[in-house]
Amino acid sequence: MFLETKHLTKQFGGLVAVNNVDFSIEKGKINAIIGPNGAGKSTFFNIISGLHPSSSGQVIFKGKDITKLPSNKIAKLGVARTFQTTHLFEQSTVLDNVIVGHRLRTKSNLLDAVLRTKRFWTEEQKCREKAIEVLDFVGLTHAAHKMADSITQEEKKRVAFALALATDPEVVFLDEPAAGINPDETEGLALLMEKMVQKGITVCLIEHKMQMIMKISDKIMVLNHGEKIAEGTPEEIMGNQTVIEAYLGGSVSA
């Protein structure tokens, strides 16, 4: 098993945001999580990436229990994620924003910085090269030296991808990557996700844009009120009666 959750549950006060979810992410595939608003999708991501502690249940990554690990340690193991909105340092260039993404693979500390040691120079160079590489991968070479506040919404999404990729992940969790961009741009991001998979990076995403999901995903899980109501291939999900009811009965926001 690559990455799986076992009976994962999260309660906020009396509210159950994620309820007893078993899910396994298939390596080298595009996995999607869908569901109406408030179904607990983002919370599910937050638990896996270690931002929120789970109330009960486990997250297992490559046979290792990562449930209790802090998010920075989880990132080091090769689990990256993006957020719905990425806060970039706007008075700086795109490249400068992405360089820090590879920080977790470096060892140089404050003393190296102050003394400008050899390790400092090699690692600075290493992070810079990594940033250039991932920016090229996401197709932003042309924008690398632009100020972060001057790029488009779609470019910002790609920067978020680049930042996640700079951590050298094995699996990337994307939280609504296509929110707020137009259909053409969505198409472009879908291609990028497929490119990531080709490169050997497993993708797991939350998305509301059904057309895209059905087209690119290999496996879909449907959450409703924090519970898993269905799981399967796009074809299976589209024909699933419970899913259709959940979408029609609940808020039709998808």
Binding site: S71, A75, F83, R103, V114, F120, R128, A166
Partner: protein
């Protein structure tokens, strides 16, 4: 490349001017004022690393400044320790207290951190004020020695003290430059932008914030210790909130989160204060609204305003010229040049 040449020349000019200043003015009072501003600058740099680059507004820095000053005072006056050993110890004591406070304070965020540190600052003040047997209470400590001689160099006169403080200031700036322009610096900025994001790209935020707080208090302590040996008398007032506000104001007017900000802000405000001497306690009538207006209209102070102005010019220029060479290369040589300038 031109921008970096520019930066290099400005740095060189600043150092030259600072070195030549006493010879140019020959006025002991001016030398006194500028020495004092240099001391403040060191403290402001400490605050800048924490509030400007890491996004944690500490309102306890006057307290740390006072801890540095009192440590030096007590160690030299009451314990009779050698001045230089006392100076090092004073910085270490302050950083250690910073570490202890940070372990708890840094678990809090935003408003809680600001309120928490405000209270910590007040506790430090109250302890200094009330712990008469050690600190001299409201009467303060007198007879703090000037720095003791190093070989043939004596620090008894204003001129040599000026150069000593300048040395420490340049040391501080060099440290800050190297920290900010490094992976560590980028890490701090990432924490400021979004702590959650920083964590999910593998940064241990707590560890980094603690390092910053310790460094930040180290410089606050250094500034305090230098202040004590320069003024030779300290009272509990140096730990009061008003001093924190002064430091913050210097930082904000100059430009929070910029490297040149502390110099610009401190020099300008200390200089302006001299002309507003007649206002004495009422100077806040002008500085209070100034602080508020700056934060509304120029959130990155004078230096930030100049940056964005330059940026606009740069954009226009860029449209006409070809896209520049790899800026990675530029940056490397730029910081090399800077290094040479600052070490030379």
């Amino acid at each position: 490349m031109q921008a970096f040449l520019n930066q290099k020349t400005i740095t060189a000019a600043f150092i030259l001017l600072a070195v030549a200043f006493p010879i140019l003015t020959q006025n002991n009072y001016f030398i006194y004022i500028v020495t004092l501003s240099f001391i403040w600058m060191i403290g402001v740099y400490g605050l800048n690393l924490l509030a400007g680059y890491t996004g944690y507004l500490s309102l306890a820095h006057a307290g740390f400044f006072a801890v540095g000053a009192y440590s030096l005072g007590i160690l030299t006056v009451k314990a009779g320790i050698n001045y230089w050993a006392a100076l090092v110890l004073a910085c270490l004591i302050t950083s250690f207290i910073g570490l202890l406070i940070g372990l708890i304070a840094l678990r809090t965020k935003e408003h809680f951190f600001a309120i928490y540190t405000l209270c910590v600052g007040y506790i430090l003040y109250l302890v200094i004020y009330n712990w008469e047997s050690i600190t001299g209470g409201v009467r303060g400590l007198i007879g703090i020695p000037a720095p003791s001689n190093i070989g043939p160099i004596s620090f008894q006169n204003p001129l040599s003290q000026y150069y000593l403080v300048l040395f420490f200031l340049l040391f501080t700036i060099l440290m800050m430059y190297r920290i900010v322009h490094s992976l560590s610096g980028r890490t701090f900025i990432a924490i400021r932008n979004s702590e959650e994001l920083a964590q999910t790209i593998g940064i241990s935020t707590m560890k980094n914030k603690l390092v910053v707080l310790v460094l930040s208090t180290f410089f606050a302590g250094l500034a305090g210790a230098l202040y004590a040996s320069f003024i030779r008398f300290i009272g509990p007032d140096i730990g009061y909130i008003t001093i924190t506000f002064d430091l913050l104001m210097y930082l904000l007017v100059g430009g929070i989160g910029t490297l040149a900000g502390p110099i610009v802000g401190t020099l300008l405000l200390v200089w302006v204060s001299q002309y507003l001497q007649f206002l004495q306690d009422y100077r806040m009538l002008i500085f209070g609204p100034l602080l508020t207006l700056i934060i509304i209209f120029y959130p990155r102070g004078i230096v930030g305003a100049i940056y964005s102005w330059k940026m606009k010019l740069g954009k226009k220029a860029k449209r006409t010229s070809d896209r520049g060479k790899s800026s990675g290369h530029d940056k490397g040589t730029g910081s090399m040049a800077e290094k040479k300038v600052e070490e030379g």
